[in-house]
């Protein structure tokens, strides 16, 4: 018989709630998985769960967890909300071990170099999945494992290879490094190596040092206002341009 937690001040609930913060995730190596879709994706990917909380009515989740041998703790709506990042969470709200970063793989990879918005970061991970790319981020980018980024990633965090790199210089040995710039770059280029595509911050784009270090520059041709694309859309178009270049 599963436990039932009825107090939002229970230690287990507090521990899960702390995973909404960068500090909480760094201290534990765990991440917050919220809602049936992310939970399904995480279970399929074999994540190791620590705590899975659900209200009583959620049969699909109970069955999915049972099949995977994951224990579910029944909680009240109030407790579920206390554990969650959102006001009206859907079951389950869970704590799982964060997947270990992979080494930079010998394939096309999009590199978040200063991306600050969690929604943009998650959207880029989702786009990378669609085009069969890997993802890397530098320390000046937003944490890729926040609840907001996981939501925007739509479950693809668990299928896309995600690397953490200290410095983009390390990419030069294995990849053709391509910097996305608002003007002055090309639309096609020839390479027989995988591409590392650098995308920068919402406010400032890529740092000049990253542009200078790149093997080539990519610019999306825009007849309208040239500074008006959001970084997630720009990354999407750039991945398409590189992937589907003829």
């Amino acid at each position: 018989v599963a436990d039932v937690i009825t107090s939002p001040r229970n230690d287990t609930i507090r521990a899960v709630a702390r995973l909404a913060t960068v500090k909480g995730r760094r201290a534990t190596g765990h991440i917050l998985i919220e809602g049936p879709n992310l939970f399904e994706a995480a279970v399929k990917a074999g994540l190791v769960f620590d705590t899975v909380l659900a209200t009583q009515l959620d049969r699909t989740t109970q069955q999915r967890a049972a099949t995977a041998g994951i224990e579910v703790t029944t909680v009240t709506d109030e407790v579920l909300a206390a554990a969650s990042d959102v006001v009206n969470p859907r079951s389950p709200v869970a704590s799982a071990e964060r997947p270990a970063p992979v080494a930079v793989p010998p394939r096309n990879i999009v590199v978040l170099h200063g991306v600050a918005d969690p929604g943009n970061a998650g959207t880029i991970i989702r786009t990378a999945a669609a085009f069969g790319w890997a993802v890397a981020s530098t320390p000046d980018s937003v944490d890729l494992w926040s609840p907001k980024t996981l939501r925007a990633g739509a479950g693809y965090h668990f299928t896309v290879p995600i690397a953490a790199i200290d410095d983009i210089a390390s990419l030069a040995a294995t990849h053709t490094v391509l910097a996305t710039v608002p003007r002055g770059g090309g639309v096609t280029f020839a390479t027989d190596r995988p591409v590392a595509l650098l995308v920068g911050s919402e406010a400032h784009g890529l740092p000049a040092s990253a542009v200078a270090a790149a093997d080539a520059l990519l610019t999306i041709p825009m007849p309208g206002d040239v500074e008006s694309l959001g970084v997630a859309v720009a990354a999407g178009i750039a991945l398409h341009m590189v992937t589907n270049a003829t």
Copy 2:
């Protein structure tokens, strides 16, 4: 000497705050303009302001308002927050007349046909600006003039022609209607007319009737999981494909 409002329950403040809701905007024909960047874009576009609230304005914004003959009402932080859609608003928070919808122009146009997320809708407007397209939406799409959509639109609501259409059938007389579909469409097509590109809902894509009525179907080639692109990214890639097709 400008008025000073210190009570969040002041009628003017309540009237501005109501513009965060669809109901409030429909009842008045006004929209909520928040923060210096949207305010600058709206002033440049010649919007007619009803109320402009600010705690403190940088000189540029003061001059901008004065030059445009716009009166600014000084308020407390508490009052500004009461008028605003966000918890910590930046000045100014303003009410302005919503720009009138334009007739569908004889140029490329992206048609939001069921887009539900305000952030996606605003991002698509921003992308349309970058590629020099117009925007239209059908009644089943989210209101394009909510504070969230305006934020994601980054000021381009005021430069992009925005039409409202009851039915996509009306486009056939003037445009080549192109439906974005996850599979089965082409990547190139020939037309000597402007394109009306239909994009659908986050959950369900385009309705079958819209796909059936289209002149041609567009599919973004994706080596990865074919159902994994967000609608704002998919629209961005599709606008690029149509605009920059060789």
